[in-house]
């Protein structure tokens, strides 16, 4: 109940601040297993994609949260678990643990996920080169649809280091799904996926 109210509150807040307009240019919103991969410029990115998805899909789609930051206080843990149903990923690598492990579990379980393949927030015009995670997931789960996603304007809502968000209209554009070709090399695929995300900017 409290989680539901918090979800509604966040949804209302993000709509008032950004309009959170979804533009499905390359594929319709559909309840199939998907990986939405997007450019990453702000903490608000995650909430914005989450808010742009239709309600039914929101329940099936899980964002990813850094374990060290999002489990530090009880409130942070509650909001990521109860409201966003997030998957925790450790940022520092230990020798005997695959950082992708929790994602693999979620995908095997049939969930859709939201991924930021740059790894960290950038503040340049174009996204940084993608990390290998997307490739590895695509390799392991060939049936999952990979949807490139461009988040527009969000860095203006809350730049790094600021606490109070400012209202600016934002949009989330979902493009045509990309596929991993058989035998395609890792770098080639990652660059192609990145280009697919950037191409949505000028639509």
């Amino acid at each position: 109940m409290r989680a539901k109210l918090m979800g509604l509150f966040l949804l209302g807040l993000i709509r008032v601040l950004t309009g959170s307009q979804a533009r499905w240019t390359g594929c319709p919103p559909k309840a199939e297993q998907r990986i939405y991969f997007a450019n990453h410029q702000s903490h608000a990115d995650l909430v914005l994609i989450w808010a742009a998805l239709p309600r039914d899909l929101r329940a099936l789609t899980r964002p990813i949260a850094a374990r060290d930051y999002w489990t530090k206080t009880r409130f942070r843990q509650w909001i990521t678990t109860a409201v966003f149903n997030a998957i925790y990923v450790s940022r520092e690598r230990s020798a005997n643990e695959d950082p992708l492990e929790p994602l693999l579990d979620a995908l095997a379980h049939g969930d859709s996920i939201i991924l930021f393949p740059e790894g960290t927030r950038g503040n340049a015009e174009e996204p940084q080169p993608f990390k290998a995670g997307l490739y590895n997931l695509a390799l392991r789960f060939p049936q999952v649809v990979l949807v490139p996603t461009w988040i527009n304007n969000v860095q203006r809502v809350m730049p790094k280091g600021e606490v109070v968000p400012v209202p600016v209209l934002c949009s989330v554009t979902f493009g045509t799904p990309v596929q991993l070709h058989p035998g395609e090399e890792r770098r080639v695929f990652l660059d192609r996926a990145r280009a697919a995300v950037i191409a949505l900017r000028d639509l």
Binding site: R23, E162, P167, L169
Partner: protein
């Protein structure tokens, strides 16, 4: 009929007026719906007709929203009405600033504009501090915004950035806040009827714009500023202003004005509103967009909020000031 209307109380009169407006909108909706069920030939002629219908539908829809907002505002009292107009300001400013690129260092100024200046201005309206409310933004905010920007330590395009922000605040907050201020003006022998004044303003400005639009289509004159607007020309502008002012004179009965005064006041509002609309068009051309909205492209097919309220934002302060000055309120 006239006698009957005169015998009603002020509240009943306003209620009757809303009924009439709702009825007119419903009638117009039925007409548009019937027209849309007709078959139109394929090709450019039919496409033009369909486009015109779609546009009429959009205008009708936004009129419904506006009228219902007014109605709720009137039902629930001046405070709620003021808050409602504050929200309109908020969304209009959001649209305006989305399309004027700001830099990271503008963040604090934007926070100030949205979360301090906007509520304060409407608080001044609500508490009827009219002397402060008319100078708060042009005098005090005019200094406060650039000070905050200067402290952000970023000289790049400083004047341009601040000018844009100041402009957005003037149009979206200052202009819009004069509409609820009309509700609180205290005319002698005109209690509880100030809602008429707002409707009067909106109606004459809107009629002026619509008549001007159709006159421009009908007259097909050379535009006065083709690079800014392909439809604006002086003859149709005169026709629009005349139509708005005449309507104002006809509506004199519901206002505290005599017919001649109403004619003049409506004329002032129409001139300010239609020319303000032209100015906002110039800004849109500068940004290279056809309509306001998320990214200036009509994804959903309807225009932004700014397209609907820009004339009002310019007409309201001028109208408010002329009324106050003329009647020494």
């Amino acid at each position: 009929m006239n006698q009957y209307l005169k015998n009603m109380s002020a509240t009943q009169q306003v209620g009757a007026m809303f009924l009439i407006v709702f009825g007119c909108l419903a009638l117009a909706g039925i007409v548009v719906f019937l027209l849309s069920t007709r078959e139109y030939p394929e090709g450019p002629a039919g496409d033009a007709k369909r486009q015109l219908l779609a546009r009429a539908d959009g205008v009708l829809r936004s009129s419904w929203v506006m009228v219902i907002v007014f109605w709720i505002g009137w039902l629930s009292g001046d405070t709620v009405a003021t808050v409602l107009f504050g929200l309109v300001s908020f969304f209009a400013l959001r649209e305006f600033l989305t399309l004027s690129p700001t830099r990271r260092s503008d963040h604090r100024s934007l926070v100030l504009a949205f979360f301090v200046i906007l509520p304060l201005q409407y608080l001044l309206v609500g508490t009827e501090h009219f002397d402060l409310f008319t100078v708060f933004i042009p005098v005090y905010v005019f200094l406060a915004i650039p000070v905050v920007s200067a402290l952000a330590n970023d000289p790049q395009r400083f004047l341009e950035r601040n000018a844009k922000l100041q402009w957005g605040i003037m149009v979206c907050i200052y202009g819009m806040s004069h509409v609820p201020a009309l509700l609180l003006l205290d005319f002698p022998k005109y209690h509880n009827k100030n809602a008429f004044l707002v409707i009067f303003l909106v109606l004459v400005v809107q009629v002026c714009m619509v008549v001007q639009f159709f006159a421009a289509r009908w007259l097909q004159r050379a535009p006065a500023a083709p690079a800014i607007s392909s439809s604006f020309n002086w003859p149709s502008w005169w026709i629009g202003v005349a139509a708005g002012s005449l309507l104002g004179a006809l509506l004199a009965g519901v206002t505290p004005f005599s017919p001649a005064q109403a004619f003049a006041m409506a004329g002032v509002a129409c001139v300010a509103g239609s020319l303000g609309h032209l100015v906002m068009k110039a800004i849109k051309r500068d940004r290279g967009i056809p309509i306001w909205g998320a990214d200036g492209s009509g994804v959903t097919g309807t225009g932004g909020l700014m397209d609907r309220v820009d004339a009002l934002c310019f007409a309201a302060p001028v109208f408010f000031h002329s009324v106050r000055w003329y009647f020494q309120l």
